[in-house]
Amino acid sequence: MSATVLAVDGISLAFGGVKALQDVSFDVHQSEIRAIIGPNGAGKSSMLNVINGVYRPQAGTISYKGRTRRRFEPHEAARLGIARTFQNIALFRGMTVLDNIMTGRNLKMRSGVLAQALYWGRARREELEQRAQVERIIDFLEIQHIRRTPVGRLPYGLQKRVELGRALAAEPELLLLDEPMAGMNVEEKQDMCRFILDVNDQFGTTIVLIEHDMSVVMDLSHRVVVLDYGRKIADGTPDEVRSNKDVIDAYLGVAH
């Protein structure tokens, strides 16, 4: 069994009287694809926001890379190799695909503002290196043809792919994907599945993903956590989860 890279332990999160998460614990192994599923409002996105430090939980801890905390600041999470995509695309719409992905390399740049503005010396060298890396991602995601296209002009499925590209640009060790396939048609979903599998396979990136589409999740992930009304109701391989009675009830709807 491979090592655990991320463990969340007893996380509870409430917004006023709304209990978004209640005592949720699970772990994520090195290089696995771990899915978090659940009906609407189950607390999936909240969980992701807790992991990369957007929300501060009232109770519980997160262990990542040997550090155990209540909360990692978002910039700290980024520095520690956590990257994410968003449920609603958060790209710079007026900028080209290339520039958007370049922003994902920002943390890797070491030269100062002045040198960057002058495009001189180390800044120049760095920019060339970063560009080469970004081109590898463009090649990987097969978006060469839209390299120079402003993101706002692209169809939704491609924007999602660009967002994945920006997250990859940070060379993450842990990639958090918030509904990467929401709103896509069948073909776009298949493409996205393939890219997620390829990222996992090629770079060994650990992936935590939230997804609505059950069939996608079951095909894609190694292990699945199921949340319902902020509680964990199941945790295991796709087959185990599929046959779990609580999960079936949660999805088909049973009077609470």
Binding site: R131, E135, R136, I138, D139, Q144, H145, R147
Partner: protein, 654 residues
């Protein structure tokens, strides 16, 4: 010591590597940057792959399947197979598994080179049914890391094996090349075939090199030409222009980054020598038209004004007949201004600023489409030929281009028109035979060595060949008048709104048509009119769209009415189809020609409805998605009537 004759492709490669070692031979855009390999470097790769193949048991006469897009390593693999006296068999990259299996089986392929995971998957899928297929080498390792099939290895690994093998046995490559003879088989190209299974056309080094040389001399090509290879390698044209001619003349071939980036890559390379089938030229013009419609009013007016000037005098100016063609000084001045303001920038956008020779072939090209390109100063010429003739029969010569012909026969070509109207050809570039099909060979090639093209045509007063249609497709209406469906379909397809058309009328009392809308052009048109639609089926059934198509058809009818022989084939009724005709559903060939007979069978209910007088028809059609699954689409289609014209009404408009 005498120079060895340059009569095989590997010998030509050795020659270029010796004469112009540092000149570019092939380029590929990778990670956004053009990577170049010189002739000397190309030779090293070919040598390594050849020695690797030899070490893996590839023997003289063996067939090497090559499947994928235009990639340097795939070109080198073809050359390597030829160096060993083997035969490269390029396959269409978008062919489905069963088509691939047929060719691999028919050609008895033992070794295959695949571009990437997609193609490897396809080959692995047919592995069970193709017991002779032993080894598969791939270029792009992406996604293949966990494949454990013993048959599979990367080309990089093959090259490493080759370098080892050569270390043990230096001179292996040169010895093998020395064994080659001009009459050896250079390649087998499978024709897409509008009927039945594809046939493997066997072309020798002698035939391909003769053709390459003849074209090089005819068009005065040099080693400095630039060409972008973006069409399927399995198609004879791409094979001739980018592989044969580049190897004969020593010019550089560039491979685009991906199928979607071709336009950008074209602009960056700025080819001097260009080939495009009519459908590509059509798509380009559609794009230009759409973008001009979106331009600001003054720009639109400028464009319209100068395109009128170009239509009037541009063709003659491109022909170089300013003076004897009777182009006045004023028009020349206007055209020069237009060149500065419109044609030059337009050529630049199309990536054709440096084009010296551009060809089109594969299908008859609409005269208006053809004239458009020539009028803006692009030396676009039609050529005529088939896989069996290594596309070497006729070309329009510089300065004497007649849009409705394909030009006079090329030097070395003997051309005859049989009594049936079929065009017969004999030339040094002719194929040897069909692979394992003596029956078909005997049918296509007669005792005197003439190839029966299957095309109907005639030589005009100037000795230029005019092709009307496929000989077997030229039909007669019930009243006995001529019916040339392709001729009409091509006229229809010239409208940007019509993507595909299929005409019926043979042995019937009237001509009718199926029409496929062009989603991009009509989608844009509908958007402008605030016409909401949910998808292809919905858009195709909108009354306004049917009106639009009717207008196109009536304009074609007016054209047809002007020609006494064709006036009776005016289209009376038509259906706008609910689904795009697709090669995956067997409705088009891989080179996107309509398979009329197959369509007539598949949509028999629609054809019957056209001739029954009904005004609508319900239809349910199976279609195949790209991943191989099938589904059905159904729709209630309207059958619309079109106005007919009398010869008198046509004349003032024409």
């Amino acid at each position: 010591m005498a120079e060895p004759a340059l009569d095989t492709f590997p010998r030509l490669l050795l020659h270029h590597a010796a004469v112009r070692p540092a000149r570019p031979a092939i380029r590929e855009k990778d990670l956004g940057i053009w990577q170049t390999w010189t002739w000397a470097q190309s030779l090293e790769h070919v040598r390594a792959i050849a020695c690797g193949l030899a070490a893996q048991g590839f023997r003289r006469g063996d067939h090497l399947a090559v499947i994928g897009a235009n990639r340097p390593r795939l070109y080198w693999s073809m050359m390597a197979a030829q160096a060993l006296g083997g035969v490269p068999v390029p396959l269409y990259e978008d062919a489905i598994a069963s088509e691939t299996q047929f060719v691999i089986d028919d050609a008895g392929v033992r070794f295959a080179v695949a571009e990437d995971q997609e193609q490897v998957d396809k080959l692995l899928e047919v592995l069970g049914e193709c017991p002779r297929l032993e080894r598969i080498y791939y270029d792009d390792p992406r996604g293949l890391r966990h494949y454990e099939q013993p048959q599979l290895a990367s080309l990089e690994r093959l090259e490493a094996l080759g370098r080892e093998a050569e270390g043990r046995d230096p001179g292996l490559f040169e010895r093998e090349v020395a064994k080659g003879r001009a009459e050896d088989v250079a390649t087998i190209l499978y024709t897409s075939g509008t009927t039945g299974h594809p046939k493997g056309v066997i072309l020798t080094h002698a035939a391909m090199i003769a053709t390459g040389r003849a074209y090089t001399e005819f068009e005065k090509l040099t080693a400095d030409e630039e060409m972008l290879a973006y069409l399927p390698l399995a198609w004879v044209g791409q094979n001739l222009f980018s592989y044969s001619q580049s190897t004969v003349a020593g010019f550089c071939v560039s491979c685009p980054e991906s199928a979607e980036t071709v336009m950008t890559d074209l602009r960056e390379i700025g080819p001097t020598y260009y080939f495009a089938p009519p459908r590509v030229l059509e798509a380009l013009l559609t794009q230009v038209t759409i973008r001009m419609e979106d331009a600001s009013r003054p720009k639109r007016a400028l464009y319209r004004y100068f395109m009128d000037v170009a239509r009037r005098v541009g063709g003659r100016i491109t022909d170089g007949r300013n003076v004897d063609g009777g182009v006045g000084f004023g028009d020349r001045l206007l055209y020069a201004l237009g060149d500065l303001l419109v044609y030059g920038p337009l050529r630049n956008v199309l990536g054709m600023s440096r084009v010296r020779v551009a060809y089109t072939a594969g299908e008859a090209i609409g005269p208006d489409l053809f004239v458009f390109y020539r009028s803006i100063g692009i030396n676009l010429k039609q050529l005529y030929g088939q896989t069996e003739t290594t596309v070497y029969v006729c070309v329009q010569p510089d300065g004497a281009v007649k849009p409705d012909t394909v030009g006079p026969p090329l030097p070395g070509v003997e051309l005859r028109v049989a009594e049936s109207g079929e065009v017969l050809v004999r030339s040094p570039g002719l194929f040897r035979e069909y692979h394992r099909d003596p029956g078909a060979t005997a049918e296509a090639k007669d005792a005197q060595g003439f190839f029966h093209t299957g095309d109907a045509g005639f030589l005009d007063a100037d000795g230029h060949l005019k092709i009307i249609d496929r000989a077997k497709d030229v039909g007669r209406l019930a009243d006995g008048t001529l019916f040339a469906p392709k001729y009409i379909e091509n006229k229809l397809k010239f409208f940007p709104y019509i993507k595909e058309a299929v005409c019926f009328g043979h042995e019937r009392e009237m001509a009718c048509a199926f029409v496929n809308i062009d989603m991009e052009a009509i989608g844009n048109w509908a958007e402008k009119r605030n016409l909401p639609y949910s998808g292809y089926v919905d858009l195709a059934s909108q009354p306004a769209v049917i009106e639009l198509i009717r207008d196109c058809i009536e304009r074609v009818n007016r054209d047809l009415a002007a020609d006494a022989k064709l006036a009776n084939s005016q289209i009376r009724r038509f259906i706008v189809l609910h689904k795009e005709l697709d090669a995956d559903d067997g409705e088009l060939t891989r080179t996107r020609k309509v398979r009329r007979r197959h369509i007539a069978e598949k949509y028999a209910t629609l054809v019957d409805a056209l001739y029954s007088g009904a005004d609508h028809v319900f239809v349910e059609t199976q279609m195949r998605f790209e991943d191989g699954r099938t589904g059905t689409v159904s729709a209630d289609l309207r059958i619309a009537d079109a106005k007919l014209y009398s010869a008198a009404a046509a004349r003032p408009a024409a």
